[in-house]
């Protein structure tokens, strides 16, 4: 039994729902481009980053939440008016952030296991 809760969501509405149901919790969110039927994302950086992020999840704080969010297809993401860019202010995928704090790792920062570990263990 993991010491954190993992939630999988697709799209902005599901993401907002997941957040609102977990008020007061320490929430980490990882945003990735959608995966195809073979499980491969259209976003090459996301493909590289995911195993790195997953590899550090044992360091997540006790009682925290990890939301894995697929943002949508490439066309949706490229539209600068999409909800993630407009409301959450995401600048790129993959993004790993700690909800409600300025702690964020963007794109190639997510390739670095020590940075991911730093985010999960920092208070």
């Amino acid at each position: 039994m993991a010491h954190y809760e993992e939630v999988t969501v697709r799209g902005y509405d599901e993401f907002s729902q997941a957040i609102s149901e977990r008020k007061g919790k320490d929430i980490f969110a990882y945003f990735s481009g959608n995966k195809d039927a073979q499980g491969k994302s259209w976003c090459p950086d996301c493909v590289t980053a995911e195993p790195v992020v997953r590899g550090e999840m044992t360091h997540l704080p006790e009682g925290s939440v990890f939301i894995y969010c697929q943002v949508g297809e490439r066309a949706y993401w490229k539209d600068s008016n999409n909800q993630f860019k407009k409301t959450l202010k995401l600048s790129g995928v993959p993004t790993l952030l700690r909800y409600g704090t300025p702690q964020k790792l963007v794109e190639d920062e997510c390739f670095k296991s020590d940075l991911v570990r730093m985010m999960f263990t920092e208070d």
Binding site: T101, P102, Q103, K104, L105, E109, K112, D114, L115, M118, E122
Partner: protein, 512 residues
């Protein structure tokens, strides 16, 4: 017998084992340990790491008397330049909105400012900078320790957690960049219990309300300035002169503008005591040094801006023989930032005689790191450093004040070109530009080398920066005359200045 054994065991554990470790490996834990994670410390440690040195940086923030604390980045990021400039901007926007109506914007009613919204946005930005620094250090392989650092010996730094847990680090070189903290007055009852400092104001979640700012430093004036600008009742209590050390004519223009725009000034007065009333408000009693009479008034907040003290007390410097300047308490440093102990260096606000500025600390830190890593011998050049005071009417300057120039060259050895000008944008806004002024202090003979340049007006920092390059290149008044201005700007007036103080002629510039 038992006692003897106990003693030996203790000595072995604390000292001997440690010495053995060092000797066995033949080297230290780190090439460089930096104490202080502010503008200087971070720049130095990152540069050193980039040059292949093994570096650790210790940063620790002792909470204020009010319990305020903050993250990595030092004074500038957390309780200085950054939040100050953002709040100054908030105030300027308030003025701009008032001007906007004259430019045609239809604004329905009186506008008011919400402190909490501003503070939240500013504090969030600062926190993102704290995080950014954490990521940078990690990325550049600098070991970061959130511990209170002190020196045990010339090569050993001790780090302490809040709970008192100890970590020891040995280093070939040690750099002290611990900066300073605001001073509280020592002889005023109630000062510490009821008042706050610049360390607190930027982290307040609720409005400071009617505020008394004690002091006339740039910290005092900038804070009183933005408080007035966002609509609060702000008073500055000045003991003698404003902006000591700055050109006094310019200082006068800055304070005149502030007074005209609503900041109250209580001059030649010193506070005597601060009491908290049953309503929660603060009652300040002060003495008018001119008449000797006593006065009282009530405020919601009292902000002490009466100087900054260097963070040297808890470093253990006296034990090591690191010399401090008695009057200031700062560390005496050489041109290469060295101290009286060969492998210990100090720079930034902590260094005696150094400007208390971020850019000089950053540059000095990088150059020091390069020298320590054996990459060059370049020393920091502290001459002609441009600065700006971000009061409601900003004041930018580079080089000598008129007083300093007179002292060095004599009144007859300098020529001061000056002008009162009016920013174009003030015209439509019907704003008073009486304090918008500039002067260029030059040598009188020869090419008339520029010794100092002073400017009050909007965006003074942006205006002054480029001219700092000119001074660095040895610009003369002739060069200035050869420079064509950009029109229409305020900065162009600097390229057109031609009336001398000596002539006594009217220095007001007419339009084009």
């Amino acid at each position: 017998m038992a006692a003897l054994c106990r003693c030996r065991h203790r000595w072995k554990r604390n000292n001997c084992l440690h010495v053995l470790t060092r000797n066995l490996t033949g080297k230290y834990d780190y090439d460089l340990v930096v104490i202080g994670g502010g503008s200087g410390g971070l720049a130095c440690s990152k540069e050193a790491a980039q040059l292949g040195q093994k570096v650790a940086v210790l940063d620790y923030v002792e909470p204020t008397a009010k319990g305020t604390k903050w993250g990595l980045g030092g004074t500038c990021v957390n309780v200085g330049c950054i939040p100050k400039k953002l709040m100054h901007q908030a105030a300027l926007l308030g003025t701009a909105v008032k001007d906007a109506q004259k430019y045609g914007w239809q604004i329905s009613g009186p506008i008011c400012h919400d402190w909490a919204t501003m503070a939240d946005a500013v504090q969030n930005h600062v926190r993102s900078l704290n995080w950014g620094h954490r990521v940078q250090l990690q990325d550049k392989k600098v070991k970061y320790l959130n511990l209170r650092g002190s020196l045990l010996d010339e090569h050993t730094v001790r780090g302490l957690t809040k709970a008192g847990k100890e970590t020891l680090l040995t280093a070939k070189n040690i750099v002290i960049a611990t900066g300073g903290r605001p001073k509280y007055p020592t002889n005023i009852p109630g000062a510490m219990e009821h008042g706050m400092t610049s360390d607190d104001i930027f982290w307040m979640k609720t409005s400071p309300g009617k505020t008394l700012v004690v002091g006339a430093s740039y910290v005092a004036l900038e804070c009183a300035g933005f408080l007035t600008g966002i609509g609060l009742d702000a008073t500055v209590m000045v003991r003698s002169i404003a902006l000591r050390g700055f050109d006094q004519q310019m200082a006068g223009l800055v304070t005149d503008y502030m007074e005209a725009y609503g900041t109250k000034f209580v001059k030649e007065c010193v506070p005597k005591r601060v009491d908290k009333l049953s309503s929660g408000a603060l009652q300040v009693t002060w003495t008018d040094t001119h008449t000797g009479s006593e006065h009282k008034d009530t405020y919601d907040s009292v902000l002490w801006a009466v100087g900054r003290a260097p963070e040297t007390k808890a470093l253990g410097l006296d034990k090591l023989g690191v010399q401090l300047k008695k009057e200031s308490g700062k560390i005496i440093v050489g041109a290469d930032e060295s101290t009286s102990v060969p492998n210990i260096f100090a720079f930034g606000d902590i260094g005696e005689g150094r400007p208390e500025l971020t850019p000089t600390a950053v540059k000095a830190g990088k150059l020091l790191a390069r020298r320590l890593a054996g990459h060059g011998k370049e020393l920091m050049n502290y001459d002609n450093v441009a600065t700006t005071v971000f009061t409601p009417l900003e004041y930018g300057c580079v080089g000598l004040s008129e007083e300093e120039a007179e002292e060095r060259h004599g009144k007859d050895g300098i020529e001061v070109y000056h002008a009162f000008y009016k920013p174009l944008e003030f015209s439509v806004a019907e704003r008073d530009a009486s304090q918008c002024y500039l002067k260029v202090v030059c040598e009188r003979g020869g090419d008339q080398k520029i010794l100092g340049l002073h400017f009050t007006g909007p965006n003074a920092g942006e205006v002054t920066q480029g001219f700092a390059l000119g001074l660095q290149c040895g610009a003369t008044y002739c060069h200035l005359l050869q420079t064509v201005g950009i029109h229409p700007t305020c900065a162009e007036e600097l390229t057109k200045v031609n009336i001398t103080k000596r002539s006594g002629l009217n220095a007001t510039v007419s339009g084009c």
